[in-house]
Amino acid sequence: MDGADLGDSVLKATIANTLDVLAWEIELAGARSHYLDSIIGRMINLIPEDRRAEFVESMHTVDLLSQQLTSLSAFTRRMSGDVPDVSAYVHAALGHITLGALADRMSAALGGEELGIDHGEGAGDLDLF
């Protein structure tokens, strides 16, 4: 489904709010990565010693990802406080998010819930989970 078909004039949000919502989502991705990191950390001990090195490398990668996401979240959050008071239509962009739950959460946080808009239903083409 093309997001533009949903009607671009329906959902409008300030850039500050949009960045803020984005910052929370990146923060959540960082938290999930942190969780994955902790799982790998626990699993390392269950792996035979001769194969442990390759998993330690994976753990470093996930740790780096976690830090990267946390830093990007901090940057986006900081930017949300510094942008001028302007608004933009976000409806079409939300329509391009292929993960329904994410689109629905962002839509709700951007004011879609008050307008009775559910992006989770129409967003993207595929939910694998």
């Binding site: 929370w24 959540l28 938290a31 969780y35 979240s73």
Partner: protein, 144 residues
């Protein structure tokens, strides 16, 4: 970083993203987090389980302060510390939260790691100085 010792933390926030990220962060830190989006669900949870600490947003049901007041009134014997969160918290809001029994306020947006760290500090304080976690204990740790 698993020093939560399985202590229960109740998180009440109407924002699903915030709820999920705090749940993950708290559980990775060793806490047992349970989350709700409404005041009714929070009160329902408190009927069954008493948390070691609570994170409550000012925007829950449009008035988190009312929920804070209801919790402290209904469970006057429960001295678990409450961390109040919210956007654009003003000094008056902090005073209001404090008067109704919150120990600490934190302005949104914040990082999940920051929130977990503050919960840890609140629990440590409640452990070291139980009176500090008592509602109306005075202007101890609340800040913006």
């Amino acid at each position: 970083m698993t020093d939560g010792h399985g202590q229960r933390v109740l998180v009440v926030d109407n924002d699903r993203t915030v709820l999920e990220l705090l749940k993950i962060r708290l559980e990775v830190a060793g806490y047992h987090a349970y989350v709700t989006r409404t005041g009714a669900d929070a009160l329902d949870s408190l009927r069954n389980v008493r948390p070691a600490a609570m994170i409550l947003d000012t925007n829950v049901d449009g008035d988190g302060f009312a929920l804070l007041h209801a919790i402290r009134h209904r469970y006057a014997d429960a001295h678990f510390p409450i961390l109040m969160t919210g956007r654009d918290l003003k000094v008056d809001d902090v005073r209001h939260a404090q008067a109704d029994g919150a120990q600490l306020c934190m302005v949104k947006p914040f990082s999940g790691a920051e929130a977990v760290e503050r919960i840890g500090r609140l629990l440590q304080l409640a452990h070291d100085r139980p009176a500090a976690a008592t509602p109306h204990a005075g202007p101890t740790v609340a800040h913006i």
